[in-house]
Amino acid sequence: MSLPETPTPRTGQDFWERLAQLDRRIIFAFIFLALAIPLFFTIRQPIAVSPEGRAYFEAIENLPAGSKVLLSFDFDPPSSPELQPMAEATFKQLLTKNCKLVVIALWPQGPQQAEKALAVALRDPQFKDLKLEYGENYANLGFMAGDEVVIQKMNSDLPSTFPSDYKGNATLSLPIMQGVKNYKNFDFIINFSSGFPGTREWVQFCVDRSGSKMIAGNTAVQAPENYPYVRSGQLKGLLAGMKGAAEYETVVGKPGKGVSFMGAQSVSHLVVILFVILGNIAYFASRRKK
């Protein structure tokens, strides 16, 4: 793979013509600085909560205390800047409601992401003294290959789909899994997804076939595909990208990385908008000259 050659500006060109042929590395440098510099400062900005983000929060808030919740971590480290803050804040809200948490993953690195998010939530002073026990209050059943077939199979027999957990224990030996046969034994389902298999497959093979209630956290690039499910009621709420994470952290009242990263995100967007405007002006100016 190689990058396309950047055109070399010729002598005698005016400012706009030179701008139209700007070396892409200069744009990269601006973007880099626009993202890096704000990380050194605390930039506070109002974070408006979208209806989908509020619905996500309220769906968990309306769960009865002690509900059993199934969480699927269908992403890997590259997507963690967007999805990890959501997952951490979600765990915190679920623990506030004293929910019992069962984690699975359809992506090989999902279980690790879940472990990291759980560790952050459990370190929170609010839950430190609760003495939550693995197997009793939460469990990580690990990863299972098979994509959408795994989702489909869990609908008929979840313990046989995940015979052992992430630590190698027999799934049915875990107290939290006693009496769990399929989705009907969970009060709620939450999916964090950055691609395939992900939210789309969960809606198709779990929500529409078992009637389970589900919310999801998506990377921004994936969210447009899943917004129609919110409107149709197939999803009860949706968080989209880092903005979604920041919204959720705001509404939960536990600002984390999502909120702190939004400053850098906003500055970089301003730089992109500026370059889009300048690029358009340069294009039309050079066309008029021709």
Binding site: F28, L39, A145, S160, Q204, A220, A240, G241
Partner: protein, 233 residues
């Protein structure tokens, strides 16, 4: 600290591609691909393949902990679990592709996978993305909103406008993709409106893609500046 430093240099190596394709980038890319492939193989083997076979069929000669727990729970090792053995045989047949003389055997499990996946997804797509979406797209163009029993005009107009835009977007978009009639006159005009809706959709998707890519870079910068170099508080 050593692992952080290695990760830091590998990150910088990958980022160096932004300036120019170079040997350091190539090296980092190869390491990434190799490590990923190895990790995926080990994960799938130990977390999926082995538990599915040994825990349920007792392939090791005695029942594993998981199988015992299942036995205690259900009172039996249900016979359908032996189907996993058939899946294992299909898996081995798939690998026979590596032997040129009997490579044709791999076509059978492949046919099974393609057939079952097509069947599974066909129903899913029909149910979730066609029927459910069509049903929820049938919207009233006047959608009165009542607050405490009385009509709220502003909310009603807002909701109705949303519904009108939705319905107009769907109809004009569908018209644009109808190619059995020439896009001329009223039909052509409607298709043109459909293009505008599509353009707005692409714009929104592009905006969210930019946000997503920026987020990835923020994640890497946070790693470099906070976790590795400890420059951020």
């Amino acid at each position: 600290m050593v692992s952080l430093t290695i990760a830091g240099f590998l990150t910088l190596g990958i980022m160096s591609f932004v300036y120019k394709d170079n040997p350091v980038y190539k090296l980092c890319e190869s390491i990434f691909i190799g490590v990923s492939a190895g990790y995926y193989f080990v994960s799938i083997f130990y977390q999926s393949l082995l538990p599915q076979l040994t825990d349920k069929i007792g392939i090791t000669g005695e029942l594993s902990d998981s199988a015992l727990a299942y036995y205690r729970e259900t009172g039996s090792l249900a016979s359908p679990q032996w189907f996993n053995l058939i899946a294992a045989v299909l898996g081995v047949m798939m690998l026979l592709r590596l032997v040129p003389k009997i490579g044709w055997i791999a076509r059978w499990p492949l046919a099974f996978v393609i057939g079952s996946t097509a069947g599974l997804r066909l129903i899913g797509e029909l149910q979730t993305n066609i029927m459910a979406q069509i049903q929820k797209s049938i919207l009233p163009l006047w959608d009165p909103q009542y607050i405490d029993g009385s009509l709220n005009m502003a909310a009603s107009v807002g909701h109705s406008l949303t519904n009108i835009v939705m319905v107009a977007g769907i109809l004009t978009g569908v018209v644009y993709f109808f190619f059995s009639k020439e896009h001329k006159g009223v039909f052509g005009g409607t298709a043109k409106v459909g293009i505008w809706f599509l353009m707005v959709t692409f714009g929104a998707a592009f905006g969210l893609t930019v946000m997503s890519r920026m987020s990835l870079l923020i994640g890497r910068l946070d790693f470099l500046l906070r976790d590795w170099l400890h420059l951020l508080g």
